[in-house]
Structure formats: structure tokens, C-alpha cells
């Protein structure tokens, strides 16, 4: 779990990209070292801090929801962040960027599952957290429409292949408010599905559920929507709703049909504050 927290933190730092604005100028001593191939640390930087609250299923396929909170943090050059990010996106970095097409590595953390946290999991044992690493590609034919695909391989809790496809319309309603939304689809192979939805003989005996051999294929389909409101140059609030309907083996698993639900909803609400450090600023 400690490792999961560290990996999660790294991803939060990598992926957070919220609009920023300048405010203060702080003069500090210069760093005592430089890295020849990296930009200088000196100058103006924008720091964003905040928090995000989420209501989501206790585990994938669960009927019960749980509340969780995560910090928001990023540090970047003024004006260098922004860009559209969907709540489902993995943390990614574009190595290739040309004409609206971007591609590069992507990573995501899939939370573990602890049997003692939900009665629906009685007898099924724990599943450790998984780190999923792979690649992404996205294409913007225009500013207001994005398609994206991620293909990731799991390490830890599962060792299968997961592929997420999504499309989003991104509409600036007015300067301060942006709405986005669109369809989602996930495909998983058997190695990614079985640890969460398969039930072997031992688990069947312990849980009272029928044994189930989970296979790969279509995993879920749904839709998501997000609203961002720039309150002022420093404050931003955002909210999202993501709905998925489990498909295939995930939906057919006795864990879902008898103790859970194929309808999965995630709701999030967050706020962030941005400020500048470094540089002498404007006169």
C-alpha cells in the first residue's frame, strides 16, 4: 500500500494540469547545480494545489459506494499546462506531438481490493493493487473534439492487457466555463479480468458463490461528462460524472449478478488554487 501511495502521488504530480495565474514574486538564492539538458529551474513557476472528492463503487462491480479524497498538486511554467484531460485518462506524457496528434507513454494505478472491506467480497480473498503501464494516442481534428486510446499492461494485481477508448466533445460555453463529455469503452483480456471477476473452486467454497471462469473481451461501455469553472485567475472548481455498464464476463460474474451491480457510477468534485513563485514578475 505504501508503494501504491507513492506511485499514485507520482501520477498526481505528473498529470495535474490546471490553469494558473501569476500573483507573487519570491526571490531566493539560485540553485547550486544545473542539468545541461533540462531547462533552468530559475524564473517563474506556477504551483497548483487543491483537493478532489470522489464517490465511487467500493470495488469494480460493487453495489455500495465509498467516498475518497485525493490532493491535487502540480508545478509548471506559467501557461505551459492546461490542455484537456478527462477524469479517466491515465497519467501520460506526449513524446510525439504533431498536428493535433499526440502519443507517448501512459500509466495508471488500479486500486487493490480487500475482502474485509465489503461483505460482498467475503470468501474471495484480497487482490493487490496493480500498476498499468503502456502507451496512449489521441487526436484532435479540431480544438473541441478529442479521441483517445490507451493500451496498458498490468503489473501486480493483474498481468493482463487493458485498452480504453474514449471520445470527448469539449465546449467552451463562456470564457470561464467549459463542458465536455462523450462515450467510453473498455476492453480487457482474461488475465486482466479474472483476478477481479473470476471465482475459483476454493473461493466458491468460501464465498458461497458459484465458480466462474472469467474471460476476456468487452469489459464496459458508458459515458462521462465534466464541467470546469474558472472562478477567477486563481481558483478553479470542477466536477464530473462517469457511468459504465459492465459487459461480458465482468457483468456475468456471480460477484456482480448476486452481490453487486453492472451499473458503475463515479462522481467527483474538486477545487484548486494556483499561484506563482520565482521570477521578478512584472513591474
Amino acid at each position: 500500500m505504501v508503494q501504491a501511495g507513492r506511485v499514485l502521488l507520482l501520477f498526481i504530480i505528473m498529470v495535474s494540469s490546471l490553469r494558473a495565474s501569476a500573483q507573487s514574486a519570491v526571490t531566493l538564492p539560485p540553485p547550486s547545480f544545473t542539468l545541461p539538458f533540462l531547462p533552468s529551474l530559475s524564473g517563474l513557476w506556477t504551483v497548483t494545489i487543491g483537493a478532489n472528492g470522489n464517490v465511487q463503487p467500493d470495488f469494480e462491480g460493487a453495489r455500495q459506494d465509498r467516498l475518497s479524497a485525493l490532493p491535487i498538486f502540480s508545478i509548471h511554467r506559467p501557461g505551459s499546462a492546461a490542455g484537456f484531460v478527462s477524469p479517466r485518462d491515465g497519467a501520460s506524457f506526449a513524446l510525439f506531438d504533431w498536428g493535433g496528434f499526440r502519443a507517448g507513454p501512459v500509466g495508471k494505478v488500479r486500486a487493490g481490493r480487500t475482502a474485509s472491506t465489503d461483505t460482498g467480497l467475503n470468501g474471495l480473498g484480497d487482490v493487490g493493487f496493480a500498476v498499468e503501464l503502456g502507451g496512449f494516442a489521441e487526436y484532435f481534428p479540431v480544438d473541441w473534439f478529442r479521441t483517445r486510446v490507451e493500451v496498458r499492461r498490468g503489473f501486480g494485481g493483474h498481468d493482463g492487457i487493458v485498452s480504453d477508448l474514449s471520445a470527448d466533445v469539449i465546449l467552451p460555453i463562456v470564457q470561464r466555463v467549459t463542458w465536455s463529455g462523450g462515450p467510453r469503452f473498455t476492453w480487457e483480456d482474461a488475465h486482466a479480468t479474472a483476478p477481479y471477476f473470476g471465482i475459483n473452486a476454493e473461493q466458491a467454497a468460501a464465498s458461497g458463490l458459484l465458480a466462474f471462469d472469467a474471460k476476456g473481451g468487452s469489459h464496459s461501455a458508458g459515458a462521462g461528462t465534466q464541467v470546469r469553472f474558472q472562478v477567477d485567475p486563481h481558483w478553479e472548481v470542477h466536477s464530473y460524472v462517469e457511468y459504465d455498464r459492465l459487459l461480458g464476463s465482468a457483468a456475468a460474474s456471480p460477484l456482480v449478478t448476486l452481490r453487486g451491480s453492472p451499473d458503475q457510477v463515479r462522481i467527483g468534485l474538486g477545487a484548486s488554487y494556483s499561484f506563482d513563485v520565482g521570477g521578478s514578475g512584472a513591474p
Binding site: S21, T27, P29, P71, F73, T117, A282
Partner: protein, 255 residues
């Protein structure tokens, strides 16, 4: 509802610690100019920013909407930048006039599609200073060239001087920008002593670019391929350049 018992210890506390560390690293910011800058006496100034003005359509656009480029050489923005920089540096340095081929410096490299390539190639401006600036032999050269910034949902790149017009469902808005960077190059070894982008000017803008920008009335948008006749646009751009030059040179601690 369920809360992980170790959530605070395992995730939140390390997150806050790393956040604090990153803030400290990030704010190890500027600022005393290196000794090498202090040793310069004679400098020449090169500016190659103001040859072209770009109109970028963003936000709600049609599939066929493309960027438009206009020549604004008659506005003399580069001459203004050289004059203004010389005035700001004059009390500290002996500024000498130089001649150069502006087109070479203004050629503006296109960012390679593979990001890491940006880090591997050498800065061509150093060679331009060696081969295309006269006279040689000054202690240093202050070189002002176009810089870039990303903007909007798909992180489009804008560079140099221009306006971004963003269409929304209810109305539209426009942002005027002057994106440039300043290098100080050693006049004998032709090494970059320091390099900084022009800093954003206003802390209370809703639109934020990586350099100086300000909102403008959409009526200032260049039309009919004749931005040269748009005196209001020229005045707004000139003001942005003049104010940002002072702020950026202040960041160098050259003045």
C-alpha cells in the same frame, strides 16, 4: 462508505511531503545573475521577432479554420525592441550598434514532432551570432528571438507576435501576445551565458500564456490582410512589448 485506515499515513502524508519538496525546488528561482554577466562591458543587441503577426482561431472553430499570417515589418517592432533594450541596458553596459541578417534569426525553428529531440540538438543561435553579426569581438550579444507557448484544449503552439481568437458557445474573446526570449551570448566563446523567456505581465488574466499577453477587444482583429493599417492593434502590441521588455530584463538583472 469505507475509509482505508492507513490512508493518511500511506498516501496523504507522502503526497504533502513531496509537494512541499517540489515547491521548494520550483522556487529555487532566479535570481542573482551569474558572475559572467557581471563581467560584460560591451554588448550588441539583435532582435528578430517582429516580422510576422499570426491570427489563431481556437475553441469553437470549423474544420477548415486555419491560422493566418500577416507581415508587420512596417511596424518596426524589432527596431523598437533594440532601441528600448539599449535604453534599459545603457546605464550598465556600453551598447554598440550591430548589423545582422534578421531572417536567419527570425527563421524560428519548428518544434520537432518528437519531444526529446528538442533536448538533443545544439542551439543554432550561437552559430548565427558567430557568422552573421557584425562587428565581432564585443564582450556579449543580447539576442531577442521568438518564443512559443501552448494554448487551449489541444495544446496548440503559438509563437512570436499574434492574437488568439477563441470562440465559445456564448460569444468569443481575443488575447494579444508577444512571445519572445532573450539570450545573452558570450562574444568570444559563443556560449549562452543566460537565456530567459519574456515573463507574463499580469497576474489577473483569465487566459494565461507562457509569455506576455493581454485581452483585447475582438474589434482589433486584423482583417482583409491589412493589419498594417490597424493602428489600435499596433499601439496595443507596442505597449505589450515595451512593458514586457522592462520586466524581462529586470529578471536577468542586466539593467
Amino acid at each position: 462508505m469505507n475509509r482505508s485506515p492507513g490512508l493518511r499515513r500511506k498516501i496523504i502524508m507522502p503526497a504533502l511531503a513531496a509537494a512541499l519538496l517540489a515547491v521548494l525546488v520550483g522556487s529555487c528561482a532566479t535570481i542573482d545573475a551569474p558572475a559572467k554577466l557581471q563581467s560584460l562591458r560591451t554588448v550588441g543587441i539583435v532582435s528578430a521577432v517582429g516580422d510576422e503577426f499570426m491570427l489563431t482561431n481556437a475553441g469553437l472553430t470549423g474544420f477548415a479554420d486555419s491560422d493566418q499570417h500577416f507581415s508587420i515589418q512596417p511596424w518596426g517592432i524589432d527596431d523598437l525592441m533594440v532601441t528600448r533594450t539599449a535604453a534599459l541596458l545603457g546605464s550598465r553596459f556600453q551598447v554598440q550598434p550591430v548589423t545582422y541578417r534578421r531572417a536567419s534569426f527570425a527563421a524560428g525553428e519548428r518544434a520537432p514532432p518528437i519531444a526529446v529531440m528538442n533536448l538533443l540538438h545544439d542551439d543554432p543561435i550561437k552559430e548565427f551570432v558567430r557568422s552573421e553579426v557584425s562587428p565581432q569581438g564585443l564582450d556579449g550579444y543580447v539576442i531577442i528571438t521568438k518564443a512559443t507557448s501552448t494554448y487551449g484544449s489541444r495544446r496548440r503552439t503559438v509563437a512570436g507576435l499574434g492574437i488568439i481568437r477563441t470562440g465559445a458557445v456564448l460569444g468569443s474573446y481575443a488575447e494579444l501576445y508577444a512571445l519572445y526570449e532573450i539570450r545573452v551570448i558570450d562574444g568570444r566563446e559563443f556560449k549562452v551565458i543566460d537565456k530567459r523567456p519574456a515573463v507574463p505581465l499580469n497576474s489577473d488574466e483569465m487566459v494565461r500564456l507562457a509569455g506576455p499577453s493581454r485581452p483585447v477587444d475582438p474589434s482589433l482583429l486584423p482583417t482583409a490582410n491589412e493589419p498594417g493599417l490597424n493602428d489600435q492593434l499596433k499601439a496595443a502590441l507596442t505597449d505589450l512589448v515595451e512593458r514586457s521588455l522592462a520586466a524581462t530584463l529586470q529578471d536577468f538583472r542586466l539593467d
